[in-house]
Amino acid sequence: MLKTKTQSLHKRQSELAASNRQLEILSDGMFKSGELPTFAKKIKETGQFPLRPKTLEILQINVGYMCNQVCDHCHVDAGPDRTEIMTKETMMRCLDVIKNTKAHTLDLTGGAPEMNPNFRWFVDEASKAGIKDFIVRSNLTIIRANKKYHDLPQFFKEHNVHIVSSMPHWTRGKTDKQRGDGVFDKSIKALQDLNAIGYGMPGSNLRLDLVYNPTGAFLPADQSGLERDFKKGLMDDFGIEFHNLFAITNLPISRFLDYLIASENYEDYMYSLVEAYNPAAVKSVMCTNTISISWDGWLYDCDFNQMLGLKIASKVKHISEYNEDIINDRDIVISQHCYGCTAGAGSSCQGSVTE
Protein backbone atom coordinates (compact mmCIF):
# COMPACT_ATOMS: atom_id res chain seq x y z
CA MET A 1 0.00 0.00 0.00
CA LEU A 2 1.28 3.45 -0.86
CA LYS A 3 2.01 5.92 1.88
CA THR A 4 -1.27 7.78 2.02
CA LYS A 5 -1.62 11.48 2.62
CA THR A 6 -4.62 11.42 4.90
CA GLN A 7 -7.67 9.42 5.80
CA SER A 8 -10.95 9.76 3.95
CA LEU A 9 -13.49 12.33 5.15
CA HIS A 10 -15.63 9.37 6.22
CA LYS A 11 -12.89 7.93 8.39
CA ARG A 12 -12.22 11.34 9.90
CA GLN A 13 -15.95 11.72 10.52
CA SER A 14 -15.80 15.12 8.84
CA GLU A 15 -19.15 16.90 8.48
CA LEU A 16 -18.43 17.02 4.75
CA ALA A 17 -18.61 13.23 4.58
CA ALA A 18 -22.37 13.77 4.66
CA SER A 19 -23.70 14.53 1.18
CA ASN A 20 -26.62 16.60 2.50
CA ARG A 21 -24.15 18.91 4.28
CA GLN A 22 -22.28 19.38 0.98
CA LEU A 23 -25.54 20.20 -0.78
CA GLU A 24 -26.41 22.72 1.94
CA ILE A 25 -23.09 24.50 1.42
CA LEU A 26 -23.58 24.50 -2.36
CA SER A 27 -26.97 26.19 -1.98
CA ASP A 28 -25.91 28.67 0.68
CA GLY A 29 -23.74 31.81 0.65
CA MET A 30 -23.60 33.75 -2.61
CA PHE A 31 -26.15 31.45 -4.23
CA LYS A 32 -28.65 32.00 -1.43
CA SER A 33 -28.08 35.77 -1.45
CA GLY A 34 -28.52 35.89 -5.22
CA GLU A 35 -25.00 37.28 -5.75
CA LEU A 36 -24.46 34.33 -8.07
CA PRO A 37 -27.25 32.57 -10.01
CA THR A 38 -28.08 28.99 -9.11
CA PHE A 39 -27.34 26.46 -11.83
CA ALA A 40 -31.06 26.01 -12.46
CA LYS A 41 -31.49 29.76 -12.96
CA LYS A 42 -28.47 29.93 -15.24
CA ILE A 43 -29.62 27.17 -17.58
CA LYS A 44 -33.11 28.68 -17.60
CA GLU A 45 -31.54 31.89 -18.99
CA THR A 46 -30.24 29.91 -21.94
CA GLY A 47 -33.45 27.89 -22.38
CA GLN A 48 -31.89 24.60 -21.26
CA PHE A 49 -34.03 23.83 -18.20
CA PRO A 50 -34.97 21.15 -17.36
CA LEU A 51 -31.91 19.24 -18.43
CA ARG A 52 -33.02 16.07 -20.21
CA PRO A 53 -31.12 12.96 -21.33
CA LYS A 54 -30.33 12.29 -24.97
CA THR A 55 -29.48 8.83 -26.30
CA LEU A 56 -27.81 6.68 -23.67
CA GLU A 57 -24.20 6.07 -24.71
CA ILE A 58 -22.26 5.28 -21.55
CA LEU A 59 -22.90 2.94 -18.65
CA GLN A 60 -20.57 3.90 -15.83
CA ILE A 61 -20.33 1.38 -13.02
CA ASN A 62 -18.63 2.20 -9.75
CA VAL A 63 -17.52 -1.16 -8.32
CA GLY A 64 -16.42 0.24 -4.97
CA TYR A 65 -14.91 3.16 -3.10
CA MET A 66 -11.82 1.32 -1.80
CA CYS A 67 -8.56 2.69 -3.19
CA ASN A 68 -4.85 2.36 -2.48
CA GLN A 69 -4.50 6.17 -2.66
CA VAL A 70 -6.05 9.11 -0.83
CA CYS A 71 -5.84 11.93 -3.37
CA ASP A 72 -6.51 15.51 -2.27
CA HIS A 73 -9.15 16.22 -4.88
CA CYS A 74 -11.04 12.89 -4.88
CA HIS A 75 -14.77 13.40 -5.43
CA VAL A 76 -15.43 9.83 -4.29
CA ASP A 77 -13.65 10.31 -0.94
CA ALA A 78 -12.00 7.00 -1.81
CA GLY A 79 -9.25 5.39 0.22
CA PRO A 80 -8.02 2.20 1.88
CA ASP A 81 -10.48 2.78 4.72
CA ARG A 82 -13.60 2.72 2.49
CA THR A 83 -15.39 -0.61 2.65
CA GLU A 84 -18.19 -0.04 0.14
CA ILE A 85 -17.59 -2.75 -2.48
CA MET A 86 -19.93 -4.09 -5.15
CA THR A 87 -20.98 -7.69 -4.46
CA LYS A 88 -20.94 -10.46 -7.04
CA GLU A 89 -24.73 -10.51 -6.89
CA THR A 90 -24.95 -6.82 -7.91
CA MET A 91 -22.33 -7.47 -10.59
CA MET A 92 -24.58 -10.19 -12.00
CA ARG A 93 -27.43 -7.69 -12.21
CA CYS A 94 -25.04 -5.30 -13.96
CA LEU A 95 -24.13 -8.04 -16.45
CA ASP A 96 -27.80 -8.46 -17.34
CA VAL A 97 -27.94 -4.73 -18.05
CA ILE A 98 -24.67 -4.77 -20.01
CA LYS A 99 -25.96 -7.58 -22.24
CA ASN A 100 -29.10 -5.64 -23.16
CA THR A 101 -28.09 -1.99 -23.07
CA LYS A 102 -28.09 0.29 -26.09
CA ALA A 103 -25.03 2.06 -24.68
CA HIS A 104 -21.83 1.62 -26.71
CA THR A 105 -19.44 2.30 -23.82
CA LEU A 106 -18.95 0.51 -20.52
CA ASP A 107 -16.91 2.50 -18.01
CA LEU A 108 -15.71 0.82 -14.80
CA THR A 109 -14.57 3.10 -12.04
CA GLY A 110 -14.00 3.24 -8.26
CA GLY A 111 -11.95 3.77 -5.96
CA ALA A 112 -9.47 1.49 -7.54
CA PRO A 113 -11.80 -0.92 -9.37
CA GLU A 114 -9.09 -3.58 -9.41
CA MET A 115 -9.36 -3.87 -5.61
CA ASN A 116 -12.84 -5.38 -5.88
CA PRO A 117 -12.21 -9.11 -5.26
CA ASN A 118 -14.48 -10.04 -8.18
CA PHE A 119 -13.04 -7.47 -10.57
CA ARG A 120 -11.34 -9.92 -12.96
CA TRP A 121 -14.36 -12.22 -13.08
CA PHE A 122 -16.56 -9.21 -13.83
CA VAL A 123 -14.29 -7.90 -16.61
CA ASP A 124 -14.10 -11.40 -18.09
CA GLU A 125 -17.90 -11.73 -18.16
CA ALA A 126 -18.60 -8.15 -19.24
CA SER A 127 -16.15 -8.36 -22.14
CA LYS A 128 -18.21 -11.23 -23.60
CA ALA A 129 -21.13 -8.85 -24.15
CA GLY A 130 -19.25 -7.36 -27.09
CA ILE A 131 -19.65 -3.76 -26.00
CA LYS A 132 -17.76 -1.41 -28.34
CA ASP A 133 -15.64 0.55 -25.88
CA PHE A 134 -14.79 -1.08 -22.55
CA ILE A 135 -13.07 1.41 -20.23
CA VAL A 136 -11.40 0.72 -16.91
CA ARG A 137 -10.35 3.76 -14.90
CA SER A 138 -7.08 2.57 -13.42
CA ASN A 139 -5.06 4.80 -11.12
CA LEU A 140 -1.79 3.24 -12.45
CA THR A 141 -0.15 2.81 -9.04
CA ILE A 142 -2.37 -0.16 -8.30
CA ILE A 143 -0.44 -2.05 -10.99
CA ARG A 144 2.74 -1.62 -8.92
CA ALA A 145 1.07 -1.77 -5.48
CA ASN A 146 1.28 -5.53 -4.96
CA LYS A 147 2.59 -8.56 -6.85
CA LYS A 148 -0.94 -9.80 -7.40
CA TYR A 149 -1.62 -6.75 -9.58
CA HIS A 150 1.61 -6.83 -11.64
CA ASP A 151 -0.02 -8.80 -14.46
CA LEU A 152 -2.93 -6.35 -14.83
CA PRO A 153 -1.55 -4.81 -18.06
CA GLN A 154 -1.57 -8.26 -19.70
CA PHE A 155 -5.05 -8.97 -18.29
CA PHE A 156 -6.32 -5.68 -19.71
CA LYS A 157 -4.75 -6.46 -23.07
CA GLU A 158 -6.37 -9.90 -23.25
CA HIS A 159 -9.78 -8.29 -22.72
CA ASN A 160 -9.12 -5.35 -25.05
CA VAL A 161 -9.78 -2.93 -22.20
CA HIS A 162 -9.41 0.79 -22.86
CA ILE A 163 -7.38 2.21 -19.97
CA VAL A 164 -8.06 5.71 -18.66
CA SER A 165 -5.70 6.85 -15.92
CA SER A 166 -5.28 9.94 -13.80
CA MET A 167 -1.99 11.79 -14.11
CA PRO A 168 -2.12 15.31 -12.67
CA HIS A 169 1.19 16.45 -14.15
CA TRP A 170 4.24 15.36 -16.06
CA THR A 171 6.48 16.36 -13.14
CA ARG A 172 6.99 14.54 -9.85
CA GLY A 173 6.38 17.51 -7.53
CA LYS A 174 2.91 18.43 -8.74
CA THR A 175 1.80 14.81 -9.08
CA ASP A 176 2.89 13.75 -5.60
CA LYS A 177 1.43 16.92 -4.08
CA GLN A 178 -2.05 15.87 -5.19
CA ARG A 179 -1.86 12.09 -5.06
CA GLY A 180 0.70 11.27 -2.35
CA ASP A 181 4.42 10.56 -2.02
CA GLY A 182 5.79 8.07 -4.50
CA VAL A 183 2.75 8.15 -6.79
CA PHE A 184 4.64 9.75 -9.66
CA ASP A 185 7.43 7.17 -9.81
CA LYS A 186 4.99 4.26 -9.56
CA SER A 187 2.75 5.80 -12.23
CA ILE A 188 5.71 6.25 -14.59
CA LYS A 189 6.72 2.62 -14.12
CA ALA A 190 3.14 1.47 -14.74
CA LEU A 191 2.92 3.58 -17.91
CA GLN A 192 6.20 2.07 -19.14
CA ASP A 193 4.82 -1.43 -18.44
CA LEU A 194 1.69 -0.58 -20.42
CA ASN A 195 3.71 0.87 -23.33
CA ALA A 196 5.86 -2.26 -23.36
CA ILE A 197 2.88 -4.43 -24.30
CA GLY A 198 1.51 -1.94 -26.82
CA TYR A 199 -0.80 0.30 -24.79
CA GLY A 200 -0.76 3.95 -25.83
CA MET A 201 1.61 3.43 -28.75
CA PRO A 202 0.97 5.36 -31.97
CA GLY A 203 -1.44 3.41 -34.16
CA SER A 204 -2.12 0.81 -31.46
CA ASN A 205 -5.68 -0.36 -30.84
CA LEU A 206 -4.82 -0.73 -27.17
CA ARG A 207 -6.13 2.62 -25.98
CA LEU A 208 -4.37 4.43 -23.16
CA ASP A 209 -5.68 7.87 -22.26
CA LEU A 210 -4.66 10.08 -19.37
CA VAL A 211 -6.82 12.31 -17.21
CA TYR A 212 -5.56 15.66 -16.04
CA ASN A 213 -7.29 17.55 -13.31
CA PRO A 214 -5.77 20.63 -11.69
CA THR A 215 -3.71 20.26 -8.54
CA GLY A 216 -5.27 23.30 -6.87
CA ALA A 217 -8.09 25.84 -6.84
CA PHE A 218 -8.04 26.68 -10.53
CA LEU A 219 -9.69 25.44 -13.71
CA PRO A 220 -7.96 23.44 -16.43
CA ALA A 221 -6.74 25.32 -19.47
CA ASP A 222 -7.35 24.26 -23.05
CA GLN A 223 -7.16 20.46 -23.32
CA SER A 224 -5.17 20.36 -26.56
CA GLY A 225 -2.42 22.64 -25.22
CA LEU A 226 -2.12 20.56 -22.06
CA GLU A 227 -2.02 17.36 -24.09
CA ARG A 228 0.86 18.74 -26.16
CA ASP A 229 2.80 19.62 -23.00
CA PHE A 230 2.05 16.26 -21.34
CA LYS A 231 3.17 14.36 -24.44
CA LYS A 232 6.40 16.31 -24.67
CA GLY A 233 7.13 16.08 -20.93
CA LEU A 234 6.49 12.35 -20.64
CA MET A 235 8.31 11.52 -23.89
CA ASP A 236 11.38 13.70 -23.27
CA ASP A 237 11.92 12.55 -19.70
CA PHE A 238 10.63 8.97 -19.68
CA GLY A 239 10.01 7.84 -23.27
CA ILE A 240 6.30 7.37 -22.50
CA GLU A 241 3.55 7.39 -25.14
CA PHE A 242 -0.19 7.76 -24.64
CA HIS A 243 -3.14 8.55 -26.88
CA ASN A 244 -5.29 11.40 -25.55
CA LEU A 245 -5.38 13.65 -22.53
CA PHE A 246 -8.76 14.39 -20.95
CA ALA A 247 -8.78 17.68 -19.01
CA ILE A 248 -11.34 17.44 -16.22
CA THR A 249 -12.48 20.25 -13.94
CA ASN A 250 -12.51 19.50 -10.22
CA LEU A 251 -16.09 19.70 -9.01
CA PRO A 252 -16.69 21.42 -5.67
CA ILE A 253 -17.77 18.34 -3.76
CA SER A 254 -16.30 15.94 -1.21
CA ARG A 255 -12.56 16.27 -0.56
CA PHE A 256 -12.09 19.05 -3.12
CA LEU A 257 -14.87 21.03 -1.44
CA ASP A 258 -13.18 20.40 1.90
CA TYR A 259 -9.91 21.71 0.43
CA LEU A 260 -11.58 24.78 -1.10
CA ILE A 261 -13.18 25.75 2.19
CA ALA A 262 -10.09 25.06 4.31
CA SER A 263 -7.86 27.07 1.94
CA GLU A 264 -10.40 29.93 1.71
CA ASN A 265 -10.70 29.44 -2.04
CA TYR A 266 -14.33 28.30 -2.16
CA GLU A 267 -15.91 31.65 -3.04
CA ASP A 268 -13.38 32.55 -5.74
CA TYR A 269 -13.60 29.07 -7.22
CA MET A 270 -17.38 29.23 -7.50
CA TYR A 271 -17.07 32.66 -9.12
CA SER A 272 -14.59 31.19 -11.61
CA LEU A 273 -16.96 28.35 -12.45
CA VAL A 274 -19.95 30.63 -12.92
CA GLU A 275 -17.96 33.16 -14.98
CA ALA A 276 -16.74 30.34 -17.23
CA TYR A 277 -20.30 29.03 -17.79
CA ASN A 278 -20.65 27.93 -21.41
CA PRO A 279 -24.16 27.15 -22.71
CA ALA A 280 -22.63 25.11 -25.56
CA ALA A 281 -21.13 22.76 -22.98
CA VAL A 282 -24.56 22.21 -21.40
CA LYS A 283 -25.74 20.59 -24.63
CA SER A 284 -23.12 17.86 -24.40
CA VAL A 285 -22.68 17.51 -20.66
CA MET A 286 -22.12 13.87 -19.71
CA CYS A 287 -25.26 13.37 -17.63
CA THR A 288 -27.18 13.65 -20.91
CA ASN A 289 -25.66 10.43 -22.26
CA THR A 290 -24.59 8.51 -19.17
CA ILE A 291 -26.08 6.42 -16.39
CA SER A 292 -23.98 5.95 -13.28
CA ILE A 293 -24.49 2.82 -11.18
CA SER A 294 -23.22 2.71 -7.61
CA TRP A 295 -21.57 -0.21 -5.79
CA ASP A 296 -24.94 -1.05 -4.23
CA GLY A 297 -26.91 -0.81 -7.50
CA TRP A 298 -28.53 2.62 -7.24
CA LEU A 299 -28.82 4.71 -10.39
CA TYR A 300 -27.57 8.27 -10.83
CA ASP A 301 -27.21 10.88 -13.57
CA CYS A 302 -23.43 10.93 -13.07
CA ASP A 303 -20.68 9.82 -10.67
CA PHE A 304 -20.81 13.23 -8.96
CA ASN A 305 -24.53 12.96 -8.23
CA GLN A 306 -23.79 9.48 -6.92
CA MET A 307 -21.37 10.92 -4.38
CA LEU A 308 -23.94 13.55 -3.41
CA GLY A 309 -26.61 10.89 -2.93
CA LEU A 310 -28.80 12.40 -5.67
CA LYS A 311 -30.53 9.39 -7.24
CA ILE A 312 -32.15 9.74 -10.67
CA ALA A 313 -35.57 11.39 -10.78
CA SER A 314 -37.35 8.34 -12.17
CA LYS A 315 -39.70 5.74 -10.75
CA VAL A 316 -36.87 3.30 -11.55
CA LYS A 317 -34.00 4.09 -9.22
CA HIS A 318 -32.27 0.74 -8.75
CA ILE A 319 -30.61 -1.75 -11.06
CA SER A 320 -32.97 -4.47 -9.81
CA GLU A 321 -35.76 -2.82 -11.81
CA TYR A 322 -33.60 -1.42 -14.65
CA ASN A 323 -35.53 -0.30 -17.71
CA GLU A 324 -33.68 1.94 -20.15
CA ASP A 325 -36.78 3.44 -21.78
CA ILE A 326 -38.26 4.48 -18.45
CA ILE A 327 -34.94 5.76 -17.14
CA ASN A 328 -34.27 7.87 -20.22
CA ASP A 329 -37.56 9.71 -19.74
CA ARG A 330 -36.50 11.86 -16.80
CA ASP A 331 -35.26 15.28 -15.74
CA ILE A 332 -31.62 15.36 -14.67
CA VAL A 333 -31.01 16.28 -11.04
CA ILE A 334 -28.86 19.40 -10.75
CA SER A 335 -27.23 21.63 -8.16
CA GLN A 336 -24.45 24.20 -8.12
CA HIS A 337 -21.72 21.55 -8.50
CA CYS A 338 -22.96 21.18 -12.11
CA TYR A 339 -21.19 24.43 -12.97
CA GLY A 340 -18.02 22.31 -12.91
CA CYS A 341 -19.12 20.43 -16.03
CA THR A 342 -20.20 23.54 -17.98
CA ALA A 343 -17.16 25.75 -17.40
CA GLY A 344 -15.08 26.75 -20.41
CA ALA A 345 -14.86 23.92 -22.92
CA GLY A 346 -16.95 21.79 -20.55
CA SER A 347 -15.82 18.79 -18.55
CA SER A 348 -16.76 15.14 -18.47
CA CYS A 349 -15.16 11.78 -17.74
CA GLN A 350 -14.13 11.91 -21.42
CA GLY A 351 -12.59 15.37 -21.02
CA SER A 352 -13.78 18.55 -22.75
CA VAL A 353 -17.22 18.39 -24.37
CA THR A 354 -16.86 21.25 -26.88
CA GLU A 355 -14.24 22.15 -29.48
Binding site: G173, A221, D222, D229
Partner: protein, 112 residues
Protein backbone atom coordinates in the same frame (compact mmCIF):
# COMPACT_ATOMS: atom_id res chain seq x y z
CA UNK B 1 -13.56 51.56 -4.56
CA UNK B 2 -13.26 49.64 -1.30
CA UNK B 3 -13.39 51.82 1.80
CA UNK B 4 -9.81 51.45 2.93
CA UNK B 5 -7.90 50.12 -0.05
CA UNK B 6 -7.03 51.34 -3.51
CA UNK B 7 -6.85 47.72 -4.66
CA UNK B 8 -9.57 45.15 -4.01
CA UNK B 9 -9.14 41.58 -5.38
CA UNK B 10 -12.89 41.47 -6.10
CA UNK B 11 -12.42 44.36 -8.58
CA UNK B 12 -10.59 41.99 -10.93
CA UNK B 13 -13.93 40.26 -11.54
CA UNK B 14 -15.33 43.63 -12.65
CA UNK B 15 -12.72 44.15 -15.37
CA UNK B 16 -15.21 43.22 -18.09
CA UNK B 17 -17.54 45.97 -16.88
CA UNK B 18 -15.28 48.70 -18.29
CA UNK B 19 -17.09 48.02 -21.55
CA UNK B 20 -20.34 49.33 -20.02
CA UNK B 21 -19.04 52.91 -19.96
CA UNK B 22 -17.47 52.81 -23.40
CA UNK B 23 -18.86 49.91 -25.33
CA UNK B 24 -17.02 50.24 -28.63
CA UNK B 25 -13.58 50.81 -27.17
CA UNK B 26 -14.08 48.22 -24.45
CA UNK B 27 -15.24 45.61 -26.93
CA UNK B 28 -12.35 46.34 -29.28
CA UNK B 29 -9.92 46.09 -26.39
CA UNK B 30 -11.21 42.70 -25.21
CA UNK B 31 -11.36 41.33 -28.76
CA UNK B 32 -7.75 42.37 -29.24
CA UNK B 33 -6.73 41.09 -25.81
CA UNK B 34 -8.33 37.71 -26.41
CA UNK B 35 -6.69 37.39 -29.82
CA UNK B 36 -3.25 38.25 -28.47
CA UNK B 37 -3.36 35.33 -26.05
CA UNK B 38 -4.46 32.68 -28.53
CA UNK B 39 -2.02 30.06 -29.82
CA UNK B 40 -0.01 31.61 -32.63
CA UNK B 41 3.67 31.67 -33.49
CA UNK B 42 3.98 31.44 -29.70
CA UNK B 43 1.86 29.00 -27.72
CA UNK B 44 -0.77 30.34 -25.31
CA UNK B 45 1.36 28.84 -22.55
CA UNK B 46 4.46 30.80 -23.62
CA UNK B 47 2.38 33.99 -23.85
CA UNK B 48 1.01 33.41 -20.38
CA UNK B 49 4.54 33.15 -18.96
CA UNK B 50 5.56 36.38 -20.72
CA UNK B 51 2.43 38.02 -19.27
CA UNK B 52 3.37 36.79 -15.79
CA UNK B 53 6.84 38.30 -16.07
CA UNK B 54 5.49 41.62 -17.40
CA UNK B 55 2.82 41.65 -14.67
CA UNK B 56 5.65 41.78 -12.16
CA UNK B 57 7.73 44.40 -13.92
CA UNK B 58 4.54 46.48 -14.19
CA UNK B 59 3.83 45.61 -10.55
CA UNK B 60 0.15 45.22 -11.36
CA UNK B 61 -1.59 43.28 -8.55
CA UNK B 62 -4.56 42.36 -10.75
CA UNK B 63 -2.28 41.06 -13.48
CA UNK B 64 -0.16 39.07 -11.02
CA UNK B 65 -3.34 37.51 -9.61
CA UNK B 66 -4.70 36.70 -13.07
CA UNK B 67 -1.52 35.35 -14.65
CA UNK B 68 -0.42 33.33 -11.65
CA UNK B 69 -3.73 31.52 -11.98
CA UNK B 70 -3.50 31.37 -15.77
CA UNK B 71 -0.02 29.85 -15.78
CA UNK B 72 -1.08 27.30 -13.15
CA UNK B 73 -4.04 26.38 -15.34
CA UNK B 74 -1.66 25.77 -18.21
CA UNK B 75 0.44 23.34 -16.17
CA UNK B 76 3.38 25.70 -15.63
CA UNK B 77 5.48 24.71 -12.62
CA UNK B 78 6.42 27.12 -9.84
CA UNK B 79 10.09 26.83 -10.85
CA UNK B 80 9.22 27.97 -14.38
CA UNK B 81 7.08 30.79 -13.00
CA UNK B 82 9.88 32.06 -10.79
CA UNK B 83 12.41 31.88 -13.63
CA UNK B 84 10.08 33.97 -15.78
CA UNK B 85 9.91 36.61 -13.05
CA UNK B 86 13.69 36.61 -12.83
CA UNK B 87 13.81 37.38 -16.53
CA UNK B 88 11.63 40.41 -15.85
CA UNK B 89 13.72 41.39 -12.84
CA UNK B 90 16.95 41.00 -14.82
CA UNK B 91 15.66 43.30 -17.55
CA UNK B 92 14.47 45.84 -14.97
CA UNK B 93 17.84 45.89 -13.18
CA UNK B 94 19.73 45.71 -16.45
CA UNK B 95 17.72 48.61 -17.76
CA UNK B 96 18.78 50.61 -14.72
CA UNK B 97 22.41 49.64 -14.92
CA UNK B 98 22.80 50.12 -18.65
CA UNK B 99 22.00 53.79 -18.07
CA UNK B 100 25.25 53.83 -16.12
CA UNK B 101 26.93 54.20 -19.48
CA UNK B 102 25.22 57.60 -19.83
CA UNK B 103 26.62 58.58 -16.47
CA UNK B 104 30.06 57.34 -17.49
CA UNK B 105 29.90 59.26 -20.78
CA UNK B 106 28.92 62.42 -18.94
CA UNK B 107 31.64 62.03 -16.33
CA UNK B 108 34.22 61.40 -19.04
CA UNK B 109 33.09 64.52 -20.87
CA UNK B 110 32.97 66.79 -17.85
CA UNK B 111 35.85 65.44 -15.84
CA UNK B 112 37.74 63.02 -18.07
Amino acid sequence: MAANNYYDPADLRKFGKITEWSEELGTKFFDYYGKVFEDGALTAREKSLIALAVSHTEQCPYCIDAYTKDTLQRGVTKEQMMEAIHVGAAIKSGATLVHGTMMMNKVNKLDG
